[in-house]
Amino acid sequence: MKKPTTLVDKIWNSHVIMDLGQNTYLIHIDRNFQHELAGATSLNGIDKAGRKIRNVELAFAVMDHVLDTHPGRGDETPIPGGTGFVREFRQRANSHRIRLFDIDDPDQGISHVIAPELGIALPGCTYVCGDSHTCTIGGVGALAFGIGSTDVEHVFATQTIIQTKPKNMRVTFNGKLGKEVFAKDMILYLIAHVSAAGGIEHAVEFAGPVISNLPIDGRLTICNMAVEFSARTGIVAPDDITLEYFNGRPFAPKGEMWEKAAAYWRTLHTDPGAHFDKEVAIDCNDIRPQVTWGTSPEHSVAVDGRVPDPADATDSHSRLTMERAISYIGIEPGTPMEDIKIDAAFIGSCTNARLSDLREAARILKGRKVVPGIRAVCSPGSSETKRRAESEGIDKIFREAGFEWRESGCSMCMSGGAGGEGFSPGQHVLSTTNRNFEDRQGRGVRSHLASPVTVAASAITGHITDPRKLGE
């Protein structure tokens, strides 16, 4: 009998070209998707060294990080050097004949959103991008790794990477999700519950009844933040929901090829009895809507909870880290989260800007207004998501509530990208993004992470708000 194998090991083993010893392997990469910010340096490196792209048909590129998201955008971005950068990337991508989803392409969007949406990322494939949130793609059952620019060059030149094999970890979500509790709350709860370093050196399979019932959008949200859990990547086993999601997508296999692929995808699951190096179980009945108070995704509490007191920390290092976070965020320990006034609300990013996210936020915003003085911005995850939202009238709900309705891109998730935009020092920004690091959304900006529903609810009250209190 065959040894029971984990999902990650099955995909890993099927991509090994060479065992290089010491748990290090040369593995084949099926999909190489690059955005302009990391990709430009890699293509420059390829050109400078006079190398060829080995399998250009397996390479894809998109503009998402540096480009502007204001309506009517072109190549111009306010970020110094941004316009030339965008043009140079386009020129290099075109000269190599890489399939580029350019600024005006109807399929443009955040790479991690469009790769599954277009059917480029597929179950069981190995997938890389020069971006740490590449782990998002695990939501469709792919083995996806964020890598640096030199490794991207390596993939362009060889269609492989050299990696140590990750250890196996499984996080099982049991129970039932409560009212206004979403995938974002699940992953924030997990990180706070275990720690931001909880997944270090591991590939994490998210499993259990709650995951099995979760639509692809939610699975992508959870896998998106695997890197905030310090995991090498995250993954969900492909199932009927996954197959249904891919059937008919533009780049997905069709006809006989689909049947062959689908039969293979159905074998991609962890065998009963397979060994995991680490297991965590979460009871979803315990999860209330989450929001972060500090400067790490592990600084997450229930929205009806309070800012913790560093004096309660278990060790001196945690205490120092908490004190530093509290001083940066500028809130007293013990403050109820709902007492925190916000200056801005952002709904966007590879974490939470897919159609279902916008629908949920619109449900809250409908017929309501953002508090005057609060800057509220929505940038859909892809141009296709934006069009579909508009066809459902979601844009109208956002606009009437007082949100800016933007073009698609990474937008205000990070200062410095985002067409050079950022929020102002000292501002409290409630954001559907994945990183509340110091200065992430602008110098001195205080980011609080939450689900689209919690962000929408808070934008219309002006302070962090438990969405369960708003009602339908």
Partner: protein
């Protein structure tokens, strides 16, 4: 790529956990296609007290002798967050050739070896002991990192052995280009794809 064999010099303690790559090199510094010129932006938000380049005198790398540091001591999960390789280029640009920490984020760790920078994992207590001795000597106690012997020698001559994957170690000792190294395996890559095209044709359908 620059070789890394043995390094002796000033070590700067920056003993915080979860130092992320946004902190190591802020996003606004990234709009470049070259791999050089990032040193000045290293720890930009901490090192400078305004948006320009006004040095914050409290930040460790602005103080002598740490201004001349070639080794950085940090706490757990160093290099977490964004995959930006510019975090490594910024450290290298400043002159840091080695970071010693109890753990590293995976992407940052991999990126180091591609750029002649050595990440050394020591136990939590060992890194804190090293940092304590460096501080006690006001930074003058030098630290040695020997990749051939795989050991760190502290300011008070105590020896801390470490392990590193042989492939990465050879890459640094010999200054090998990782892409050239893999291109030697072209026949194996071609053989894999030939078989894989039969098994999983949908991957190659474009």
């Amino acid at each position: 790529m620059d070789k890394f064999v043995r390094l002796t010099g000033i070590a700067a303690p920056l003993m915080r956990r979860n130092i992320d790559t946004d902190a190591i090199i802020p996003g606004k510094e990234l709009i470049k296609v070259e791999k050089t010129g990032y040193g000045e932006g290293l720890f930009g938000q901490w090192r400078y007290s305004d948006g320009k380049r006004m040095e914050n005198p409290d930040f460790v790398l602005n103080r002598p002798p740490y201004r001349d540091a070639v080794i950085l001591l940090a706490d757990a999960n160093f290099g977490c967050g964004s995959s930006r390789e510019a975090a490594v280029w910024a450290l290298a640009g400043f002159g840091i050739r080695c970071v010693i920490a109890p753990s590293f984020a995976a992407i940052f760790y991999n990126n180091c070896f591609k750029n002649g920078l050595l990440p050394v994992v020591l136990m939590d207590t060992q890194v804190h002991e090293l940092a304590g001795q460096v501080v006690k000597s006001h930074g003058k106690g030098l630290v040695t990192v020997d990749l051939e012997k795989c050991e760190v020698i502290g300011p008070e001559k105590q020896v801390y052995p470490f392990t590193v994957n042989d492939i990465y170690r050879e890459m640094l000792l010999q200054g090998l280009d990782p892409i050239d190294a893999t291109l030697r395996y072209e026949s194996q890559i071609a053989a894999f794809q030939e078989k894989d095209r039969v098994n999983r044709p949908w991957i190659y359908q474009y």
